[in-house]
């Protein structure tokens, strides 16, 4: 378990170096990493390409949707409301996340989309996930709209 979250954090750091908001995830199937992804909203110029969505798209290129119901997700930041709903739609088994997402979080912060649908536990390596955010925003997110720059927003 720890290894998957460490891997996700590593990917988040990579994401940051690519000028993407540093959130990343690993989908795990039967104890094996099935897909990895990081946020790609800037590269794709598509604000919906959060790492969870990117990973699901990737998995569905080669697997039937039913495999997602057997997956656990490790993600560095609480899924936003959009991703939390997507995870509900695909029927994810369980979610482990790092820091809380107080602006957009859909697994407890703003809404509890998971309630009665899938298990979600947060707070794994949260400090590390927050530090990656901090480092990113201290450098300044080059792709944020002008009024949003230098503001510590999550995802």
């Amino acid at each position: 378990m720890e290894a998957f979250m460490r891997r996700a954090l590593e990917l988040a750091r990579h994401s940051s170096s690519q000028g993407e908001i540093p959130v990343a995830c690993v989908f795990v199937h039967n104890g094996q990493a099935l897909a990895e992804a990081w946020n790609m909203t800037n590269e794709t110029k598509n604000a919906t390409k959060h790492c969870e969505i990117v990973a699901i798209d990737e998995i569905l290129k080669t697997h039937p949707p039913s495999i997602l119901q057997e997956c656990e997700l490790y993600v560095t930041c609480e899924p936003c409301i959009m991703c939390a709903s997507a995870l509900e739609i695909i029927g994810i088994k369980k979610v482990y996340f790092g820091c809380y997402n107080e602006r957009f979080g859909g697994n407890g912060s703003i809404l509890s989309v998971h309630e009665g649908k899938y298990e979600s536990v947060g707070g794994f390596f949260a400090e590390e996930a927050i530090k990656i955010f901090k480092d990113f925003y201290e450098r300044g997110n080059p792709n944020a709209p002008p009024e949003k720059r230098h503001r510590p927003v999550a995802e």
């Binding site: 909203t41 110029k45 598509n46 604000a47 919906t48 959060h50 969505i53 699901i56 798209d57 569905l60 949707p65 997602l68 936003c80 409301i81 959009m82 709903s85 997507a86 739609i89 695909i90 602006r103 957009f104 859909g106 703003i110 809404l111 989309v113 709209p145 927003v153």
Partner: protein, 257 residues
């Protein structure tokens, strides 16, 4: 047309001073009826207030008359004669009551602690409705089926469509966003409208937030819809678009024109 009003940051109520009549509860029905004619709350834009409130001791009612600065002492005193003369009941007091309607459930709870509020999801015709533009929106809405959505640029009148696909996340709105070409000097779907027959689900509703849409038009509510069920528009997000629901009859009327 109905607008789903966005989250209002202020849960601090703006109150206004009103004159209140305290009467014997038995006189309630009669007095409320009379006050409805003589002091209609609409006239003071206070029709979000319920007329009556139980007084701390059970057999008395507090009835809001109207704003203290608009109701003269004589007018208020006149109401007293309707009572049975019991001095304890028949009196006029003043109280701070919410000046504006409650737009959210959270506000409702707070407003209610001052005075009972009737909560109607406010329905307003926003001044943003331009006749020509509405005609175009109706036209696009009419062209859509339940498995499609359209991104509309009101300046250039360009339209980008999306369709439902076979995969679980291929909702019409997600598809439309994926199909939407973003030019270099543009921030996602800023200034664009999303038009759909069916209310967006929560995933799509939030995708529209991330994509910085300007407005969403839909017709049919959905059981677990982003607004009617999840009340996404009332959440304290750092951005929210305007949500407008076109009622079917408005749509038909417009078609006849």
């Amino acid at each position: 047309m109905k607008e789903y009003l966005p989250y209002c940051t202020s849960t601090k109520p703006t109150n206004t001073l009103c004159k209140i009549l305290i009467i014997d509860a038995q006189k309630g029905t009669e007095t409320i009826k009379m006050m409805g004619k003589k002091f209609p709350l609409e006239q003071y834009s206070l029709n979000h207030l319920k007329r009556a409130k139980k007084h701390t001791c059970g057999h008395q009612l507090e009835l809001v008359i109207g704003p203290s600065n608009l109701i003269t002492d004589e007018e208020a005193e006149e109401l007293k004669t309707l009572g049975d003369g019991c001095n304890d009941c028949d009196r006029i007091i003043e109280k701070e009551v919410p000046q504006f309607p409650a737009y959210t459930r959270e506000q409702l709870k707070i407003w209610n602690s001052f005075w009972p509020i009737s909560y109607k999801e406010p329905s307003i015709l926003p001044i943003i409705q331009i006749k020509e533009e509405m005609k175009k929106i109706f036209e696009i809405m009419k062209s859509l089926d339940h498995d499609s959505a359209a991104i509309y640029n009101p300046k250039t009148e360009e339209i980008c469509y999306g369709k439902k696909g076979d995969l679980p996340l291929q909702h019409p709105i997600m598809d439309a966003i994926n199909n939407f070409p973003i030019s270099d000097n543009q921030y996602y779907c800023n200034d664009h409208y999303l038009i759909t027959k069916v209310e967006p689900c929560l995933m799509c509703g939030m995708a529209l937030v991330h994509s910085r849409f300007e407005r969403v038009y839909f017709m049919e509510k959905m059981e677990d819809g982003a607004y009617s069920y999840w009340r996404l528009h009332e959440k304290p997000l750092n951005y929210m678009y305007r949500v407008l629901r076109i009622k079917k009859n408005v749509f038909d009327e417009n078609n006849e024109e």
